[in-house]
Symmetry: C2
Subunit: 421 residues, 2 copies
């Protein structure tokens, strides 16, 4: 199933920012690299919220993984789901059979954490995959269509949208939905009362963008309010049954659209010993990104809890951490072949940013913080540059240009309606 090779085999589980970067860094090196992902594409998660809100096509924020590795003879891609890992036998069990490894790098990322609330898990929308984004897009539009012919009593639930969690994803999706309401809704649905469409953002912390500077948080809150989003801070979601969101202060918001971005956890494959799973269901790793106690098993990115005195909660679950860890691990694999000792991983924090809407973004860098139009331009430039592929860059740029001059969100087709399973 995997061609035999005289080279040592590195299996990479997951083709996200970490897994893809690692495989790229091992291109044409003296290892056989087997990259496994359940999708045949890499997802550029930071722009998923624009797919969910009609600003971009799904195909421009994803990239075929096979294309990344054209001509790299030592890299083998397999589309498969990973069922479990057997560390004793150095084998992973997948939907296409067993794959043995000499080294394993777990780069499986993270998934939504519903904190064991089954009702919430069943009824909430999430925004981690391309399918999630398409489902949100369909649901929002389907509810607007339904609102046109609904009984008055059902109208509030169809029109209200609740975003839970005011991290970057929550803030970005709430802002984009507010812009959709302002610029698209009145033209597309003149029969609906725009004022009746409320967009709430719920956050248990006392501020939005809790991981950014005070300055960025304050400004982002101001931007959200300017766009007409209703922020509700210091309050938690208590329950959601698909029709009514009840908050910890007993506020009840009727809504059929609740987007959950308030918690993530590591997506740990089955079969690993319990003692390597730490806070947030993430795998505890040492300074070389090795799974504690297992020299030939590594973990990088969201699924990894990089354990050091400086970061008791691990590093942030963002793309730069995954990519930097990928480069460090790749470099150590190359050093190993040269008989050199591994170098410990050091995270270089380049800063963080988030966008709330048109001309409205916040940027925290090491020595400078800024917000507004320039921040928004920087945000766009950074995201355009990091998008994979020239075609995707071009298409996204044209869409952004078009959206900016037309105030439109052109990609609002309900192609495969969302149906709860």
């Amino acid at each position: 199933m995997i061609p035999e090779s005289s080279l040592k085999r590195i299996v990479i589980a997951g083709g996200g920012f970490g897994g893809m970067e690692l495989a790229k860094a091992l291109r044409n090196k003296a290892y056989q690299v087997v990259l496994i992902d359940k999708n045949n594409y890499h997802t550029f998660q930071p722009l998923l919220y624009q797919v969910a809100t009609g600003g971009l096509e799904p195909d421009s924020v994803a990239f075929p993984l096979r294309k990344v590795f054209h001509g790299a003879e030592n890299i083998i891609f397999r589309m498969a789901e990973i069922k479990s890992v057997n560390l004793e036998e150095k084998t992973i069990v997948t939907t296409i059979g067993n794959v043995t490894f000499d080294f394993l790098v777990i780069a499986t990322g993270s998934t939504s954490n519903f904190f064991n609330n089954r009702d919430l898990e069943y009824n909430a929308m999430t925004l981690k995959t391309v399918s999630d984004a398409l489902n949100i897009r369909s649901l929002v539009l389907q509810n607007l269509e339904a609102a046109l012919v609904a009984d008055k009593k059902d109208l509030d639930a169809l029109l209200n949208i609740v975003v839970v969690g005011a991290g970057p994803t929550g803030v970005e999706v709430a802002g984009a939905l507010a812009e959709f309401r302002t610029h698209v809704l009145p033209n597309d649905y003149p029969e609906l009362n725009r004022q009746a469409v409320n967009i709430y953002i719920i956050e248990s912390d006392k501020k939005v963008l809790g991981n950014m500077s005070e300055q960025a948080s304050d400004k982002a809150l101001l931007f959200l309010k300017k766009l007409g989003v209703i922020p509700m801070l210091n309050v938690k979601l208590e329950s959601y049954d698909g029709n009514i969101a009840v908050l910890s202060d007993k506020t009840a918001i009727p809504t059929k659209t609740l987007i959950w971005s308030a918690g993530v956890k590591g997506l740990v494959p089955e079969g690993l010993p319990k003692n390597v799973v730490g806070a947030g269901a993430r795998l505890t790793i040492n300074n070389f990104c090795q799974l504690n106690g297992f020299e030939s098993v590594f973990a990088i990115g969201d699924v990894a809890l990089f354990d050091s005195q400086a970061n008791p909660k691990g590093l942030p679950m963002v793309a730069p951490v995954a990519m930097q860890q990928a480069k460090s691990v790749a470099n150590n694999f190359i050093r190993m072949n040269k008989g050199l000792p591994p170098l410990p991983f050091k995270y270089f924090d380049k800063g963080s940013m988030a966008t709330v809407g048109r001309n409205k973004a916040v940027v925290d860098l090491a020595f400078i913080r800024f917000q507004g139009f320039i921040a928004w331009l920087v945000w766009m430039a950074v995201h355009l540059m990091t998008l994979v592929g020239f075609r995707n860059k071009t298409i996204v740029f044209i869409n952004w240009f078009w959206n900016y001059i037309s105030y439109d969100r052109a990609v609002r087709l309900i192609i495969r309606p969302f149906n709860r399973k």
Copy 2:
């Protein structure tokens, strides 16, 4: 559900080329127009085959219907499925309730005709909707992924592709698949033997593109052969069980991908009297596109059988017929309000064209026929011009330019895997 109005109400069933054009022509005229479609978008069917073969995003060959009618106060769009028509009560029954009409225009188009072969209907892929196109794209790619890890005995069925019917759709999809095999497959799947991927086109007639000139047919056949498609003429599909296609000459071709483009029929709503349904399940209409025997009910486009001595089989099921009929019907509605008698519909045949691949198209006009590179440029120009929306035109142009210079088909993501229900 539909706002009351003092104007006479025209209900248009279907937002395809006919229905959309008709509603556009009635913009701000003295009628209340209710346009009903099961999708919230218009589909540009002539380019669906490029979505199916990874050349274009689904969102660039579809256009939100609401956007077409911005600011047109007399036009109301409703997303609904039409269940049946009650001509006595002048009402249509839909998934969102009953809608009454003063005039009804049936523009429901056509659907695949499997000639009561249930096995074929269940197992074959079709190419009439955006979902169909995405399903073909997913299935072709899923089968290639599966081929990498399949037993040798299953390999042929996974790699062979059979297209049945050599009309424009069949020819275009077979040609595009052949180009995918030549330019994408060797790079993406170096482990697969390209020679083992066979693309067949099956046609019961003695030539391909039977409705075009001899010259165009001959050249298209030559183009198909050049691209490595295996044409099988004068032969019919006898059965297909999802694994083996058996032809009338008893040839058996193992394949898990059979694309059916050999028959269409009118998509006639329930509840109409049997005597108005003619050849090909199409509605027989008079010279004014009125349903025979019903003055206030019209039919246009694929679903209509325009009855005249000159066209015993009706007019071709193509966009120009639907659009010209729409304009004629709209004009007669406007004349009616002025107390003028209706004018009979006359079809102006502008010619026809089809593309087989890169630099390879055939064009039949009234006074000139040409094939090859110039025909291909003309084909592209005509399709770009008729695409709805500036954004779509731009994105399609960039994709085509990109595909041309890179020989790539960039949109090859399996976003929602195809699963037979």
